[in-house]
């Protein structure tokens, strides 16, 4: 199961419970401001929660879950038909509750009042621990996203200012913190982005577009992609196929750069992965090895391998063997092979695979891009492979 699906399951359970409580008479009935309520499905029986606190957490959970659901559909290429019916119903139900909360001026005012009481953690002192940094950044990010959603009420401007100031302070505090705290925090944020699919090409068009391009979560350094030009220039691809290959390589580079090679592979081989324009490959006109889906032959093939073990499902020898089988089966269609690995045995490649790949190169015009995962495992670079002249 992909990490994103696991998170969707977990959050759906919580959102479903909160939605049951949010549909109670007690939540919506008129009454005094800043009152408490019961929410037995959410916080247990005989336990009170502030109505404003419940509403704020509901909005945040709904935004997180609904946003992730939309990104999950796009990333895996599933669409409505691939989405569990229970999630579709929850999406509609929880969306209606959220809209009701956002339209309730009194409730919005209560939430805004509570915000004025919250101070940023640690003031301006550098973060001493990764936990503190990580939590502070996510808290600031949550407030930015909530503020962007709550664009109603006379105090919205003040709320937005508070949220932006918190985000800027927190980001600056991270910059002032020790290098090892910064690096470790960014690493955990990378995992967070993967778990919630808040990836650059998905987030720019998501429900969080209202952030106007100013998200509070810093990103790790983007992968250096100069190698793509070099790779394509030396690939012997004709201009048309080079044009088709470029967006695939750029998307792969973005994906591996943002989530790391291991997460990239886990998602690529997940049973949910269909592919498509928003997938980690940037297209649905590509075959994938390994894959559980049987599709026709496409112009491009992406093969992913990890390790060198002969018995490993993702081991270099087994993946390479599958590539060769694919090239035989799709001799007339596949013209571009992108092979990504994290280990390279030059002698083994020459003795076991080069001749067959060279045959497809010379006879059918297949072109190969061999890419190696670097250190850290968020970078890739081309491997120079010469398949020789025609015999």
């Amino acid at each position: 199961m992909s990490e994103a699906r696991r998170q969707l399951n977990r959050m759906a359970r919580q959102l479903s419970a909160m939605s049951r409580d949010a549909q109670s008479f007690e939540f919506w009935a008129p009454g005094p401001a800043h009152r408490n309520m019961h929410a037995s499905n959410t916080v247990g029986p005989d336990c009170e929660v502030s109505r404003a606190g419940f509403a704020e957490f509901y909005l945040l959970l709904w935004m997180d879950w609904a946003g992730l659901l939309r990104r999950w559909q796009r990333y895996f290429g599933l669409g409505e038909e691939g989405t569990p019916a229970m999630w579709r119903r929850l999406y509609d139900r929880s969306g209606a509750v959220a809209e009701g909360i956002l339209r309730d001026a009194e409730l919005m005012a209560e939430i805004q009042d509570a915000w004025r009481e919250v101070e940023p953690p640690q003031g301006a002192a550098p973060f001493e621990t990764v936990d503190a940094a990580y939590h502070a950044l996510l808290e600031a990010d949550a407030r930015m996203r909530l503020a962007a959603r709550m664009r109603r009420g006379p105090r919205w401007g003040e709320l937005d200012t508070l949220a932006r100031r918190l985000a800027e302070t927190t980001s600056a505090t991270l910059s002032d913190s020790a290098a090892e705290v910064r690096e470790a925090t960014l690493r955990h944020l990378s995992h967070y982005r993967h778990a919630t699919l808040r990836l650059s090409w998905l987030e720019s068009e998501s429900v969080d577009r209202s952030l106007e391009g100013r998200p509070a979560l810093p990103r790790s350094r983007n992968m250096n992609t100069h190698w793509i030009n070099t790779c394509l220039d030396t690939s012997e691809l004709n201009p048309d196929t080079r044009g088709a290959a470029r967006p695939i390589l750029e998307r792969i580079a973005a994906g591996i750069g943002e989530v790391g090679y291991d997460n990239f592979v886990d998602d690529a081989i997940d049973p949910d992965m269909v592919g498509g324009h928003d997938s980690p490959f940037g297209t649905d006109q590509i075959n994938l090895i390994p894959s559980r889906h049987k599709t026709g032959c496409h112009y491009a093939l992406l093969a992913l391998s990890k390790g060198a073990g002969k018995r490993d499902r993702l081991g270099f020898p087994r993946i390479m063997q599958q590539v060769k089988v694919h090239l035989i089966n799709c001799a007339d269609a596949t013209k571009l092979v992108i092979f990504i690995c994290d280990t390279w045995d030059a002698a083994g490649f020459s003795s076991s695979h080069a001749e067959e790949l060279a045959a497809h190169y010379h006879r059918f015009g297949v072109r190969y891009l061999f890419l190696m995962v670097g250190t850290p495992r968020t970078s890739i670079a081309p491997i120079a492979v010469d398949l020789g002249r025609p015999k």
Binding site: Q7, C47, V49, G53, L60, V118, Q122, A136, A184, H191
Partner: protein
């Protein structure tokens, strides 16, 4: 049989986290005893509303601690034990990287505290601050 503290661990954690417990227990003008600290930690287990198993990430490498059980009570006193619940690892008061009493604020209800803590566990799971999370009890 309640989980046991090693002498060294109890002293160390009482010294580190005792001040918050003094406030929660209304102890003024003296330092909380190890007995009081241990009793309050045990109460967090006995009255927990949330209990989960997870492995906590090391700070600066890709390694994780062995799996442990975390118990959380209504005041957000946390008690962490080994899986068989034979050993107490630590106990502290969670106040979200802010001074004691600030977050959640003094007006926060038990329900507010539960929501806040649940949010943090979700973020920790998403960011691999913890892994292999299994929630055994949640309200």
């Amino acid at each position: 049989m309640p989980p046991a503290w090693s002498k060294k661990n109890l002293t160390r954690h009482r010294n580190k986290h005792g001040a918050c417990f003094e406030d929660l227990l209304g102890i003024g003008g003296r330092v909380i005893t190890e007995r009081e600290y241990a009793d309050r930690a045990q109460r967090a287990i006995d009255k927990s509303w949330m209990e989960y198993q997870a492995e906590k990430a090391h700070t600066y490498d890709d390694e994780f601690d062995p799996p442990r059980l975390t118990h959380v009570d209504d005041e957000l006193v946390i008690a962490i034990t080994d899986l068989p619940r034979a050993q107490m690892i630590t106990s502290f008061h969670e106040h979200f990287d802010r001074p004691h009493g600030v977050e959640p604020g003094p007006r926060a209800t038990v329900g507010d505290r539960k929501l806040r803590y649940r949010q943090q566990v979700l973020w920790d799971d998403q960011g691999r601050m913890i892994r292999n999370l299994r929630v055994a009890k949640d309200v």
